[in-house]
């Protein structure tokens, strides 16, 4: 599968295979006994849980102790104070998902300046450079995810219709890429569609943002939301107002998989591979601690998921059986 997007500095993507670990690497890592910390935007989402699961397995295999896992609750201030606190504990490496751009850039720079290896997930604040301010960025092909969602939604939208785009107000590489790719695909391939963009600052605001979008555009015929949790809130609010329309989003969380199987509104989900991304991030940490060169940007391709392939996609992405509700809705589980 190819990668559509470019990295935060225009880098070409390196595949996750570039950071594979050899048996010698694991042996050397075990002998070193490193201490690692993880700082995420949230620990609540399915994405975050799978990401952590992927990382923990590799760190465990390599004898690296995870001394802290921080939930920043999407707060830049909290992330800054937590990074400063972790710096004082002198771990060998920190894996961090920067929750904002300029507000958290200096704190991340301080991590590297303290001699701690820094591997970023999903977002690289503007001005931070790989090899100098951080080791590598590991993310999905977010541009590709936006494209997958546009292709999927487009098939359900009539000629000349309006499509709503609910973007994330924070300046965040991953969601910016998805929004840009979605609108670009429409502009090039469905110039008849009129995109109407609105943004929300917090997940709790997504329903209100959908309200505003619908009030300003009562003839909305489709919706793209940049990830699944706000998409579910937005779709629920639209349904409450009697506006049923096809919805596309990113991330195949459990609730989103159920919504897709119900096929009331969700028609396409561009899924990330958080478990594999967690593995790639942890392997990148181990390789850079071993002093091996690592690519500046490691990207994992997205997967297009519809009702037709939701079960196998869920199994592939989450390494778990699909939710019972999904199986029931698709007629695959016939018991109670």
């Amino acid at each position: 599968m190819t990668i559509s997007g470019l990295g935060p500095h225009g880098e070409r993507a390196a595949p996750p295979e570039r950071v594979s670990l050899l048996p010698d690497d694991r042996t050397a890592a075990k002998a070193a006994g490193w201490r690692v910390a993880v700082v995420l935007h949230t620990l609540e989402s399915d994405w975050a849980k799978q990401q952590l699961a992927g990382m923990m397995g590799i760190f465990g295999d390599c004898g690296a102790a995870v001394i802290d896992v921080v939930d920043c609750a999407f707060s830049p201030d909290m992330q800054v104070s937590e990074l400063d606190r972790l710096i004082s504990q002198s771990p060998d490496a920190i894996v961090s998902l920067p929750v904002a751009n300029e507000q958290v850039a200096a704190a991340h720079r301080r991590v590297s300046e303290a001699g701690i290896k820094l591997v970023l997930l999903d977002n690289a604040p503007t001005g931070l450079l790989p090899g100098k301010d951080y080791t590598a960025l590991v993310s999905s092909d977010n541009f590709g995810l936006g494209k997958i969602a546009a292709v999927g939604l487009s098939a359900h939208v009539p000629d000349g219709a309006k499509v709503g785009v609910l973007g994330f107000a924070a300046d965040f590489f991953a969601t910016n890429e998805r929004e840009i790719a979605f609108t670009k695909w429409l502009q090039v391939n469905r110039p008849d569609i009129i995109p109407r963009i609105h943004r929300f600052a917090r997940i709790e605001d997504a329903a209100a943002a959908a309200d505003d979008l619908l009030s300003a555009n009562p003839d909305l015929a489709g919706l793209f939301v940049v990830w699944d949790t706000p998409a579910l809130a937005a779709a629920t609010r639209l349904a409450e107002r009697g506006a049923t329309m096809p919805v596309a989003t990113v991330d195949l969380g459990e609730a989103a998989a159920i919504a897709l199987a119900q096929s009331d509104s969700f028609c396409c989900i561009a899924a990330q591979q958080p478990f594999l991304q967690g593995i790639a991030a942890a392997q990148t940490v181990i390789l850079c601690l071993l002093g091996r060169p690592v690519p500046a940007w490691i990207a994992l391709p997205g997967i297009g998921v519809t009702r037709d392939n939701v079960v196998e996609s869920f199994q592939r992405i989450w390494r778990q059986p699909a939710p019972r509700e999904v199986l029931r809705l698709l007629g695959l589980s016939r018991g109670k």
């Binding site: 190819t2 559509s4 997007g5 470019l6 990295g7 935060p8 500095h9 225009g10 880098e11 070409r12 390196a14 570039r18 751009n101 300029e102 503007t126 001005g127 450079l129 790989p130 090899g131 100098k132 541009f143 300046d171 910016n176 890429e177 840009i180 790719a181 609108t183 670009k184 695909w185 502009q187 090039v188 391939n189 469905r190 110039p191 008849d192 060169p293 690519p295 500046a296």
Partner: protein, 456 residues
């Protein structure tokens, strides 16, 4: 609230016969004081008085004017050294913003920078520079609008600065462009500069990507604080940026460093460096290696329907494909021979390599180092560092922002607009806007719904 031009030029106070108005005499001192603050040479009133040799009253008066124009900020206190803490004078870099873009053979990058040239946000995506220019201009405009919507301050934008893949004829120091210079054959006849000026209502600057990337590396990359540097961009074309005494050397017409035209010999063939070591050669040799069985790895990519470009060859070299390693080594040696000549002539303390081929493998860098060390005087290489850029395409955006920032505040340009508080009031720019308003914009690119992504 910034003053308007009318506030400053139409004072109700009577003035003496023959005595020049303040507005006529203040501009030079405003320019000097603003640039002392902007460059960080002075950041208190006392330092400004000392460095400019203006009296206390003049400095106080001019700072009030600059404050009213929104160009400086005195709200912060410094550290006391005995008496009261001095009030710090800061350049209001967020007063307005600069839109920047890099147009490369295979990618387009856009960003928003503040007036100091600091990049606030950036985005890069794949693009084909051989596509119709109207399509490219439309994409650039869409990305600029998206960036402005998200990041431009209330003061709006004051300029657009473009980084393009070739030397820019007519881009002399200090001048914004009034017409589109010939850069690429595919763009001939398309009014890119005029379109951007008309659509955004701001002056446009344009420099070669080698120049902007060199500036970016010098001000925000590995070369910060470096007095002498060689910057090399390796792509379809191979160019060098030269920094002497901490300044970019542009040459008589902005064409310094076009080393890709220099003749080299390889395997009995002679030709320009671009043709024998650039990305076209790497791609061609990679295809040949895939077809004649020398590279099973590249052949496998082809068998799976993948395209072989110089990037695939570079990535294959990085993971040990012998044929690809040989191709990259040959390119590195050839470039290194030319760079050694430059290094012996200029004695740089740093050589920085950039371009997507360099970013994706270590082989070319290693071969180039070998050639430079082998062909240089020992004094030249004693402390010489040869490294790969960490900035990628961001270097071009940062450099483009520096170009616009330096041109906006160049004394000869600044004195024409500083009293009005905005470069959009510069008389030459106002005249350009008048002229453009009388000409029709180019038609939009043709569009057809395909249901499939158009081949790009």
């Amino acid at each position: 609230m910034p003053l308007t031009a009318q506030d400053l030029t139409e004072s109700p106070r009577p003035r003496g016969k023959g005595r020049p108005r303040t507005v006529e005499t203040a501009a030079p001192s405003l320019v000097e004081l603003l640039n002392l603050v902007r460059t960080g040479a002075a950041n208190t009133r006392q330092e400004l008085e000392r460095q400019s040799e203006f009296g206390r009253a003049v400095v106080a008066d001019r700072l009030t004017m600059l404050g009213d124009l929104g160009l400086v900020d005195e709200s912060e206190l410094g550290t006391a050294t005995g008496g009261r803490a001095p009030r710090l004078v800061r350049f209001a870099a967020r007063r307005a913003a600069i839109l920047v873009a890099t147009l490369d053979q295979t990618a387009i990058g856009v960003g928003v920078a503040d007036l100091s040239g600091k990049l606030l946000t950036e985005h890069h995506e794949a693009a084909d520079l051989t596509a119709p220019p109207a399509e490219l201009a439309e994409r650039l405009t869409a990305l600029f609008r998206w960036s402005m919507e998200r990041h431009a301050p209330q003061g709006g934008i004051w300029g657009i600065s473009l980084s393009v893949p070739g030397a820019v004829q007519g881009a002399t120091e200090g001048d914004f462009l009034t017409a589109t210079p010939p850069v690429l054959p595919a763009w001939e006849g398309f009014p890119l500069v005029e379109t951007l000026t008309r659509d955004f209502g701001v002056p446009v600057w344009m420099r070669s990507s080698v120049e902007t990337m060199t500036m970016g590396e010098l001000h925000a990359g590995a070369a910060i604080g470096t007095r002498s540097m060689l910057f090399l961009k390796v792509g379809r074309r191979i160019g060098a940026g030269i920094v002497c005494d901490g300044q970019l050397y542009r040459g008589a017409h902005g064409a310094a460093g076009l080393i890709g035209s220099l003749p080299v010999t390889s395997g009995g063939r002679s030709g320009p460096l671009d043709a024998l070591a650039g990305s076209d050669m790497i791609q061609r040799e990679g295809l040949s290696a895939a077809q004649d069985g020398r590279s099973p790895m590249l052949a496998d990519i082809q068998r799976r329907g993948g395209e072989i470009t110089a990037i695939e060859v570079s990535q294959a070299a990085q993971i040990g494909d012998p044929a690809s390693v040989a191709i990259l080594t040959k390119a590195g040696h050839l470039i290194g021979q030319v760079v050694a000549t430059l290094a012996n002539a200029l004695n740089p303390e740093l050589i920085v390599l950039s371009g997507s081929i360099v970013q994706t493998n270590d082989i070319l860098l290693a071969a180039l180092r070998e050639a430079v060390y082998g062909a240089s005087h020992p004094f030249v290489t004693r402390d010489l560092r040869i490294i790969r850029s960490q900035m990628g395409s961001s270097a071009g955006l940062v450099g483009a922002a520096r170009v616009a920032s330096e041109q906006l505040f160049a004394p000869s340009f600044l004195k024409e607009w500083v009293m009005q508080g905005s470069p959009l009031a510069h008389p030459a720019f106002a005249a350009l806007q008048d002229r453009l308003s009388q000409t029709a914009p180019p038609p939009p690119p043709p569009r057809a719904r395909t249901g499939q992504e158009l081949p790009r």
